[in-house]
Symmetry: C2
Subunit: 412 residues, 2 copies
């Protein structure tokens, strides 16, 4: 008989709902990185990790990491507890509480209690200050300059909030790759692939690469009645024309899995009777194919160059954060998850790519890495309406726990 580890569903769900209270807002959660509710939730998490008997470290960047006191190589499991400005209750939180439940389940069972599981909540995956901040910092993949320059959209700096949280004197936590067998992360799918396929577990094959850009248009603010069309330097209209061109061109060169989004647009001063003198937009595109990402980026820069040449509005473009390369999940680890899924829910799983970025992508070139997905109702995420069926939440953790034990046992 295959290995089968039994988690405690009530305890898992109770912890998820307790964490949900920090920043609860209707059905959703507003718990952006370094907000007071985020800091409060980390204190709560420290308590939970300590109860389990882990040695807890909070590092300068706000990562909360619970280290196993068992000897031997460990499994590192985690995700994030910060949310989008209008976040769902499971995005990130699910993976952290799964990790907690797996750690304590293995410690409770006689045939697994010697296994070492470290668990973590990585700071600011959602990019309030800097996307994937915590995991990148832990993996030594972020420069002090990026951290020094990071700020939120109101202009608050990361340095300020680190000081305000009393973390500035605390050391940074860095990965010891020799300590770990693998990195595992569970997450809600955040899309509709599992729901469409009527499957309950997703075994992730790869995480798409992501490139984001900020475009700034500088024209001349003027009166909307007295400035003839031919004399205008309308930053807003320049933005609309370029955005429309980008979208039309991308539609012709995209692959099956490519997505692109203009999620933010702002006109200044933003009055109906003033020609905007300033406008800005944020554009992001994703695909597992780096060459396709290159083509998208080249087209973008070409269209900006054409727009600048045509005038009369100045256009600047800069990457928004570092580009995130596609990350491939470890084949061997995928097999462990597949076997665990077959054990608990035979035939009820599929292999799939991840359209969303995750902390796991940061680990993929340092440790063998894998991810497990559970379905998102209606495919909805980054929204207060985000949810997952209770039985899917429980099944996902069950599969995750069995896979974790199986991976550790195979290795040690």
């Amino acid at each position: 008989m295959d290995l089968m580890v039994k988690i405690k569903p009530e305890r898992l769900l109770a912890d998820l709902h307790e964490l949900r209270k920090f920043g609860a807002c209707g059905k959703g959660v507003v718990r952006t990185a370094f907000s007071q509710v985020d800091l409060d939730s980390r204190q709560w998490l420290i308590g939970k990790m300590t109860e389990v008997g882990l040695h807890v470290q909070v590092d300068v960047i706000g990562n909360v990491i619970g280290y196993s006191r068992n000897s031997g190589q460990a499994l590192l499991m985690g995700s994030h507890t910060d949310t989008q400005p209008e976040g769902g209750w499971l995005d990130g939180s699910l993976g952290v509480i799964y990790a907690l439940e797996v750690a304590r389940t293995l410690l409770e069972l006689p045939n697994t209690q010697y296994l070492a599981v470290d668990i973590a909540s990585w700071m600011d995956e959602e990019g309030t200050f800097c996307g994937l901040l915590g995991s990148r910092s832990f993996c030594g993949k972020i420069s002090p300059k990026v951290i020094a320059n990071a700020k939120d959209r109101s202009g608050l700096t990361l340095t300020e909030v680190i000081h305000a949280a009393g973390l500035n004197e605390v050391p940074v936590a860095r990965i010891d790759p020799g300590r770990y067998v693998a990195y595992l992360e569970a997450h809600i799918e955040q899309g509709a692939r599992l729901v469409s396929a009527k499957k309950r577990i997703g075994v992730v094959t790869a995480i798409v690469g992501i490139r984001s850009f900020k475009l700034v248009f500088t024209g001349e603010q003027n009166h909307a009645g007295t400035t003839p069309m031919q004399l205008r330097k309308d930053a807003g209209m320049a933005l609309i024309r370029l955005a429309n061109d980008i979208d039309a061109t991308y539609g012709k060169i995209s692959g099956d899995t490519t997505v692109w989004t203009i999620g933010h647009v702002k006109f200044e001063p933003g009055s109906h009777s003033i020609v905007p003198g300033h406008a800005e937009m944020m554009l992001q595109f994703r695909d597992p194919d780096s060459q396709l990402l290159d083509r998208f980026e080249a087209v973008l820069y070409d269209l900006v160059a054409t727009g600048k040449k045509t005038g009369p509005v100045e256009i600047t473009i800069e990457p928004l954060g570092a580009p995130i390369p596609p990350a491939f999940m470890d084949d061997g680890l995928q097999e462990h998850i597949v076997r665990a899924a077959e054990t608990h829910a035979p035939g009820d799983w599929i292999r799939m790519p991840s359209g969303a970025g995750h902390d796991a992508m940061v680990f993929a070139d340092i440790l063998p890495t894998a991810m497990l997905f559970v379905p998102s109702i209606g495919g909805i995420s980054h929204s207060f309406a985000e949810d997952t069926k209770e039985e899917d939440i429980v099944l996902g953790c069950q599969v995750f726990a069995t896979a974790a034990a199986s991976i550790l046992k195979a290795h040690i």
Copy 2:
């Protein structure tokens, strides 16, 4: 010899600069209707009007009106002292202080001191709560329902600010058309026509009609990585496509004087990694030709209907405030201004339409109405950079005073 009235340039400039201090922000002014600095500036203006010997009334809507104590028909002169969210120092203020300077100049001179001049600052010309609010209220052209529903972009209601200003028990001021010979208003041009023509005085022939609309796009907020393009209901992208179509179509059917502006665009939630579920934009167009305005409006509604049919994003459209019809200036009054301009600056004037709306347009079907423009440096307005040469400010008031005396003397 033609009539010539001499104003006091130092006094005029001193008052303009004193008024500028209320809400000064760099070179510009932030003095939106019913803000504390706006209310403070009205107290200052009441003091100025009282000094001149006028009987001052502040009405329920915040209009400040100084009535002459002289008998006989009067000339009504005014403009507004409220500003845009990022306003220039002369937009509106120039006309109010010109009116003040003309009133006191005529009262000081032996051959004009019997003439009656009423002066006013009309509330909220710029539309913080409701465009042309004060002049429309004074002329009985605004319904109680519109006033009851008026609110600023933060959701603050006009009713609330009227109460907060302690004006709710004060009666409304209404025009007595029989009292007046004419309505006169001076204003900065806010465009570059005078500068281009190298002329210092504009005699306005007509004011363009204005129609404004708010479009709301309702899609489905979702994750920018996990939602395939074909399943998106992207409110932001729907806005960009429609805005681009509107602009392209208008470019084909516009006249020489037509202008159109998308001054405000907002995506929600406005994150670079979230497909916007909600977007809104404000569109405005202007022309002196009502039939052209009708065509523009028909095209707009057609494009919205096509967008709704195409889907998948819901689109609603509604007029933003009442449409403003074109207004024509009185020929006889224009002649008086032309003669005054010839007296003080021979050959240095032109006739021109106004691309901007003004309180004068509200009066044009009730009283013979006329407007005088002074040049705007670089044609810049609705901007902190807005300015007019000091000698042009002085000349404009000089011409305005002589024209006012000439109009009153011709009539009485």
